[in-house]
């Protein structure tokens, strides 16, 4: 089976599992006391954030390795990971407000996690805009790797600065998105969801990478 085909099977499998998770979430997991059914979106929102971070982490790692080894495949992988990461960021950024509105009465809040994801989204967009603007493949790979590494190193600083800002300017937060005191069924559902989203990441990247291979050999 080619890479693209394998990737497609994994993705389909992951999506089916995702549907399964939702059946579990809607039927078999208790409804959260204060938030009500809207809280169910949590199982999409948080793992999406995890996948987005995973994407960025791997973009950064692949970029470092590329600059050392100069292997074009690493560059192709980074490009695939960045695209997939953008998608997950979008999921996170749309489910966030959808969740926030019924719970907090506001579409957006500048809490540490949302802000970080928004900046991550901008980093991904910038990365891809740069890739699109450079025609020479070797130059493009070098440039992308530089931006990828800088972006990865930036993330902890963004987190730190927003966190510092928040502790000094406390904002009215009604509920913490992922309180550690989750009943076991919810925790299991959440962990399963993490697994599924990781699988989705793998499936998407495989397909995108295969596409990239086809493009450059053409």
């Amino acid at each position: 089976m080619t890479l693209a085909q394998r990737g497609r099977w994994i993705t389909i499998g992951a999506l089916m599992l995702l549907a399964g998770i939702y059946v579990r979430a809607l039927r078999f997991t208790p409804v959260e006391l204060t938030q009500g059914p809207a809280q169910k979106i949590f199982y999409l929102h948080v793992p999406a954030a995890w996948s987005a971070m995973l994407s960025m982490g791997l973009v950064g790692l692949a970029s470092i390795l590329f600059l050392i080894m100069k292997d074009a495949r690493l560059d192709r992988f980074a490009a695939a990971s960045a695209e997939v990461g953008t998608v997950f960021c979008c999921v996170m950024l749309t489910t966030g407000p959808l969740w926030a509105r019924p719970i907090w009465g506001t579409w957006w809040t500048w809490d540490a996690r949302l802000t970080l994801t928004l900046m991550l989204f901008f980093l991904f967009i910038g990365y891809q805009v740069l890739r699109g603007a450079v025609t020479d493949p070797r130059l493009r790979a070098n440039y992308a790797a530089v931006v990828g590494i800088c972006g990865l190193i930036l993330l902890p600083f963004i987190h730190l600065s927003v966190y510092l800002f928040r502790t000094l300017h406390p904002m009215p937060i009604v509920l913490k998105p992922s309180a550690p005191s989750l009943p076991p069924e919810m925790l299991v559902t959440l962990l399963l969801s993490f697994g599924v989203f990781t699988l989705l990441y793998v499936g998407f990247v495989m397909q995108r990478y295969a596409l990239g291979e086809g493009e450059s050999d053409a």
Binding site: K70, A72, P137, R138, A141, S216
Partner: protein, 226 residues
């Protein structure tokens, strides 16, 4: 002198250089003819150290300090005067202050730029700019000259003058590599000739007594109609 050993440059599916090897001694002038896209400029840039090869190696005796580059871009700063440009580039090559002024003066008069020395480069004509670029390249007295299509955009007189100058420089013991796509231009200067196509040398050897016509014929045969 300079050398290349099994030089290759590839990225993904694109292969710009494919196993180039040669040596060039002092006082020899190698002229490389090839169509656009043959990899001539890439080869020159690898020799200069601007591009790192993916396989093989290349080197110039004396390192970067020994290289002088003349291309069709002047590498000068438009808003600085000719003299200021020469001064800047000379200082970058660590030429001691006393020698700096002397060499400036020598090169300016040698290349007929005395009148223009105090003018900003952006006010010069194409021919004058090219001469200023040559002065810049020679400031640090390089023992190796790399020339990338230097005759581009020059009129007949300027091209002839450049040819004469290059001939003098070669006679003084410099190793020169000149790449061009026009067989007529480089023939007189060459002591050695190479034909390049798709990243490879399809022919390499001394020019011997062949003239431009003979070389053109040989070129057509080796490279095909280009």
């Amino acid at each position: 002198m300079l050398w290349a050993r099994d030089l290759s440059h590839a990225f993904g599916a694109i292969r710009a250089l494919d196993g180039i090897s040669f040596t060039l001694e002092r006082g020899r002038t190698l002229v490389i003819f090839g169509p656009n896209g043959a990899g001539k400029t890439t080869l020159l840039r690898v020799l200069a150290g601007l591009v790192r090869p993916t396989r093989g190696s290349a080197g110039v005796e004396g390192g970067r300090r020994a290289i002088g580059w003349i291309g069709h871009q002047s590498q000068l700063y438009g808003h600085l005067t000719v003299r200021e440009n020469l001064r800047f580039w000379g200082t970058l090559y660590d030429i001691p202050a006393g020698d700096l002024e002397r060499r400036e003066g020598e090169l300016l008069s040698r290349l007929g730029l005395d009148a223009r020395a105090g003018q900003q480069v952006r006010t010069l004509s194409r021919g004058e700019t090219q001469r200023a670029a040559i002065a810049r390249a020679l400031m640090h007295d390089p023992s190796v000259l790399l020339l990338d299509e230097p005759f581009t955009g020059l009129d007949r007189l300027a091209a002839e003058a450049l040819g004469r100058l290059l001939g003098e420089l070669a006679a003084r013991g410099r190793a020169t590599v000149l790449v061009t796509h026009d067989v007529k231009e480089g023939t007189e200067l060459a002591s050695d000739v190479a034909f390049m196509r798709a990243g490879r040398f399809v022919a390499f050897g001394p020019r011997g007594s062949r003239d431009a016509a003979a070389l053109t014929a040989a070129y057509r045969e080796a490279v095909g109609s280009a």
